[in-house]
Structures are given as structure tokens and as C-alpha cells.
């Protein structure tokens, strides 16, 4: 369970990015955080694992108050929070395997990681995860040789091998084509279901958010202006989040897309029972 209370962030430039945010995310909930650029979405998730230091407020993850931890305890706490980035943020000159194993850095000693001698259990888990996303045959490829969708799946593996309680996902589809975006979102949702993970997903694409999240939180200028189910996103709500615009196209398409998505998901599951995962995902690249 993640509990955020009164989270405030003022940047050194004087910009007040978050204005006393209160937010609870129960275990196993996939939540989408939507809002215009500059609303503070990235700041919220970076304040949770303190890549950005909050100015005020508290963040509690499973009864550990993250905001007051010293650097050593903060590193331990970060192990429980997997992060998935916009533009993937893989270390491009490392191999796929090294990138995935870097998710274990918080658990191994420096010399082990320096010599790339990770425990066998970590290596097994890395291969298992790569196989799950259909990339185990790519383990020794350099990360910059992969396509966008493949890179993001490696990014997902890196986050999951941390064995996290919470996924922090920052614009996972921002540089992907529409089809790959859906695959990535579906994968994140499936994996969260399999592992009973909760997730906060920052996302620009309202339709994707509605398709794949159980709960939508709308952020505007550092304040929550909507918190509810995907079906509650009416034209008025969208106007409150993003400003005046003709939302009819967005809202109408939602229903068609939701049906299509459900159908697609059914197909995938049907395929799934017959084919190993790798073939299934490899076909989608």
C-alpha cells in the first residue's frame, strides 16, 4: 500500500510543481496518472522514489516512511520500487542481460556487480523474465541494437527483477507506435496482475489510460482534479484536466477501443495456451 500525504515540491527555480498531493494506491491496483505537460506527473513518481527530493509531505510504502530515510535505507527502499522510463533509459552500451541484471544492483555487493558475477538465482530469474517478454534469445545483444518496443520490454524486465511491490511507470509509450504502445501497456497490466503489483502509470494518451488502468487520476498544475474509474472521464472532466477542447472524438472512440482491446486480449490469451511466449511476442515485434 502506497500512501502519499501532503506531497509538495517546489523546484529551485521557484516553480511549485506539486501542491500538497494526497493519494493512496492499494496493493495490486493499476492506476493511470493523466494530465497536461507540466502538471507534475513525472515529479509525483520521482518524489516517490526520491530521484527528486520532495519539499514537504510524506510518502509511505508498506509502513516505511520513504521521505525521511537516510541514503543507505533509501537504497534499500528503492529496491522495492521498480521504475520504467520514457525513452526506455536502458544503458545503451551494455548488453540486454547486463541491463536486466542492473535491476539487482541493490541486492549484490559492488565487486559482484563489477565482475558481472551475479548469483545464479538472479541469472535464472533474468532469463525467465526475458523469456516472458520474448527476448531471451537477445540476452547478449547490446541494448542499442533493439527496436523501441524491445527496449521497453527490457526496461520492464529490469524493473521486475528488482522484485518490487510497486511499479513507477513514466510515459512508457511516449516514443512507441500505437500498436507497440498497446502491447507494452497490455504487458505491464498482465505482469501487474500476475505478480499482484500496484503501479502508477504516467501517460499522455487518455485512450490508452482508459483501456488499461483500473483507476484514473487527473493532475492539473500540481493538484488532483479527478480521481475515479475510467468510465467517469466525461467531456467536463477532460476539460477540467486539460482545458477547453472538443473531446467528443476521444470519448466516442473509447467504447470502440475498449471492445477491440478486450477482443485482442482474448485472442492473445487463446494464442497463449498453444504457443510459448517467445513466439507470441517475437511475432509482435
Amino acid at each position: 500500500m502506497l500512501r502519499i500525504k501532503g506531497l509538495t515540491k517546489r523546484y529551485r527555480t521557484g516553480d511549485l510543481a506539486l501542491k500538497g498531493l494526497d493519494l493512496d494506491v492499494p496493493d495490486g491496483e493499476v492506476m493511470a496518472l493523466i494530465g497536461p505537460s507540466g502538471a507534475g506527473k513525472s515529479t509525483v513518481i520521482r518524489c516517490i522514489n526520491r530521484l527528486v527530493e520532495p519539499t514537504a509531505g510524506t510518502v509511505m510504502l508498506n509502513d516505511i516512511e520513504i521521505t525521511t530515510l537516510g541514503s543507505r535505507d533509501l537504497r534499500r527502499a528503492r529496491r522495492r520500487m521498480g521504475m520504467i522510463f520514457q525513452e526506455y533509459a536502458l544503458v545503451e552500451r551494455l548488453t540486454v542481460m547486463e541491463n536486466v541484471l542492473s535491476g539487482r544492483l541493490g541486492y549484490v555487493a559492488f565487486w559482484q556487480s563489477f565482475m558481472r558475477k551475479f548469483p545464479q538465482a538472479d541469472i535464472d530469474e533474468a532469463f525467465r523474465l526475458l523469456a516472458r517478454v520474448g527476448l531471451d534469445h537477445m540476452a547478449d545483444k547490446r541494448a542499442d541494437e533493439l527496436s523501441g518496443g524491445q527496449r521497453q520490454r527490457v526496461g520492464i524486465c529490469r524493473a521486475l527483477i528488482q522484485n518490487p511491490d510497486l511499479l513507477l511507470v513514466d510515459e512508457p509509450t511516449a516514443s512507441l507506435d500505437p500498436k507497440t504502445s498497446r502491447q507494452i501497456m497490455r504487458l505491464i497490466k498482465e505482469l501487474c496482475g500476475e505478480r499482484k503489483l500496484s503501479a502508477i502509470i504516467n501517460i499522455h494518451d487518455v485512450m490508452l489510460a482508459q483501456m488499461f488502468a483500473e483507476r484514473i487520476v487527473g493532475l492539473q498544475l500540481g493538484e488532483i482534479v479527478y480521481d475515479g474509474p475510467p468510465t467517469g472521464l466525461s467531456a467536463e472532466v477532460l476539460t477540467k484536466i486539460y482545458g477547453e477542447e472538443d473531446w467528443s472524438a476521444t470519448i466516442r472512440k473509447i467504447d470502440d477501443d475498449a471492445d477491440a482491446a478486450a477482443e485482442a486480449a482474448d485472442n492473445v490469451i487463446a494464442l497463449d495456451s498453444r504457443l510459448p511466449h517467445r513466439d507470441r511476442m517475437a511475432g509482435l515485434t
Binding site: 533509459a89 536502458l90 556487480s113 526496461g155 513507477l168
Partner: protein, 268 residues
């Protein structure tokens, strides 16, 4: 039809310096100074004319290069220079890695940053010859002074370029590694090192190359190496031996140039 299509609007690239008088003053000033500088450059043309055959005779004295006369001196000098180069490059890079990381603004805390930038500034402000004269005074004649000189100069060069490379890196990759709960050394090793490594290998080879050439020069002020042999040959008017030494230096520099180019392409 709109007005825009009937009345063409004037457009010109905005000038670099907005104030017209300043623009003209700077341009005119530069032209006047250049003209004056050329006008007052004194050239003693008869002396130049006289010097040409002298130069030709001097040059002719180099031929044929004499490799055998002081063979042992040349071989020892070259070996000493190579040894100085290897040792000083290794020491210099070993010191410049922590200094360079400390001098990267996006990695080091402010006090560490200023301290390391200070080290780099001091190291870079003296030319090798001046350092060599100083260290020869300090440690006496011989290759040790040369090694200290070249190591010192390497720190300034390599540390600054490392710091700048770290500052130019893609910070999101490093941020992602930090988000996993990695420790500081792990963060450097996974998040930063892979991003800067290929360029730093190339620069290390380049610095090796520079250090070898410098080792030939600083020998002239007494800091050991092939430069000392070269200086002796010149002061004894043994130009053919000197020519041999110069050819060997040119050969080694070219070999280093080609091999470093090859290795750099390979690490990319």
C-alpha cells in the same frame, strides 16, 4: 486573397550583433588592427635571403641519416622514452579518473566539484616544457622528472575531457540505474562508465601518442628519454645521428597514430 500574398513582407537574417554602431566598430577595429600588425611586422629580407642557402646546407648535413654511429644511445633513448610514456600515461589516467569524476558538475557535490576543477586548472595552465624545467630543478636530471611532468600534464588533459564527457552523457540512463537502489560505485560502473568508456579509450591512446612526442621534447631540458639523446647529437653537431633520431621518432609516432586509429574504430 489575403494581404500577405499581395504585399511581400521583407525578411532578413537577424544580425549577430544587434547594435549597428557596435557591429561596425568591431569590424572596422579588427581590420585596422590587422593592417597595422602586418604593416609593422619587420622582415629583414636580405637576411632571409642569406639564410636560405644556410638552411639548405644545414638540411643537407642531415643526409644520409646515421643510424649506426650512436646505435646504443638511440635504442636506449627510445626505450627510455617509451617506458616514460607507458608509466606516465598509466599514472596520469589513474589519477585523472577520480579527479575527472569529481570535476563533473552533474555527478559531484559542489565543494568536490570546485576542488577537482581547481586541480585540473592548475594542471592545464602550465605547458609541459615549463613543468619539466620545474621538475628537473626539483628531482634532478633524468627520466623521473620526465615521468612526473607527463603524468601531471596527463591529469589536466584526461581529467578535463572525462569530466566534460560525463557532463554530456544521457542522464536518464544513469537515473535509471540509480532508481534500482544501486550504490554509488555501482551507479558509476553501470550508469556512467559504459557511456564514456569508448571515448575515454580513444583519448587514452591519443594521450599516449602526445606523451611520446612530449617525451622527446622535455628531454631537451634534461628530463630524460630520446630528447636527451637528440639534444646531445645536436650540441655535438652530429646532424646525421640527429636525423636518424628524428626519423625514428616520426616512425613511432606514425605507428602509434595508425594503431590508435584502428583501436578507436574497434571500440566504437
Amino acid at each position: 486573397m489575403s494581404i500577405a500574398s499581395t504585399v511581400p513582407r521583407h525578411w532578413q537574417k537577424p544580425p549577430l550583433i544587434k547594435r549597428a554602431w557596435l557591429r561596425w566598430a568591431l569590424g572596422l577595429g579588427a581590420v585596422v588592427y590587422l593592417a597595422a600588425a602586418f604593416g609593422t611586422t619587420e622582415v629583414n629580407w636580405p637576411r632571409v635571403w642569406e639564410g636560405l642557402p644556410r638552411g639548405a646546407r644545414f638540411f643537407a648535413a642531415f643526409f644520409p641519416p646515421d643510424f649506426s654511429g650512436h646505435r646504443d644511445d638511440i635504442v636506449n633513448g627510445i626505450l627510455e622514452s617509451l617506458w616514460m610514456t607507458v608509466v606516465s600515461t598509466a599514472i596520469g589516467i589513474a589519477i585523472s579518473v577520480p579527479v575527472g569524476i569529481g570535476a563533473a558538475k552533474n555527478v559531484a557535490p559542489r565543494p568536490v566539484y570546485y576542488f577537482c576543477r581547481g586541480i585540473l586548472a592548475v594542471s592545464r595552465s602550465f605547458q609541459e616544457i615549463i613543468l619539466a624545467i620545474f621538475f628537473v630543478k626539483l628531482f634532478g636530471f633524468g627520466p623521473f622528472a620526465g615521468v612526473v611532468t607527463l603524468s601531471f600534464a596527463t591529469v589536466g588533459f584526461y581529467g578535463k575531457l572525462l569530466a566534460e564527457d560525463i557532463e554530456d552523457m544521457d542522464f536518464s540512463q544513469a537515473e535509471a540505474v540509480r532508481a534500482t537502489g544501486a550504490g554509488w560505485l555501482q551507479w558509476i560502473n553501470y550508469g556512467i562508465q559504459p557511456q564514456v568508456m569508448p571515448r575515454m579509450i580513444g583519448l587514452g591512446l591519443y594521450r599516449f601518442d602526445i606523451n611520446f612526442r612530449e617525451s622527446a621534447v622535455i628531454g631537451i631540458v634534461g628530463a630524460g628519454g630520446i630528447g636527451a639523446t637528440l639534444d646531445t647529437a645536436f650540441s655535438r653537431y652530429e646532424f646525421r645521428s640527429a636525423a636518424a633520431i628524428l626519423l625514428v621518432i616520426i616512425g613511432i609516432v606514425m605507428a602509434l597514430e595508425y594503431s590508435s586509429g584502428y583501436i578507436r574504430r574497434w571500440v566504437q
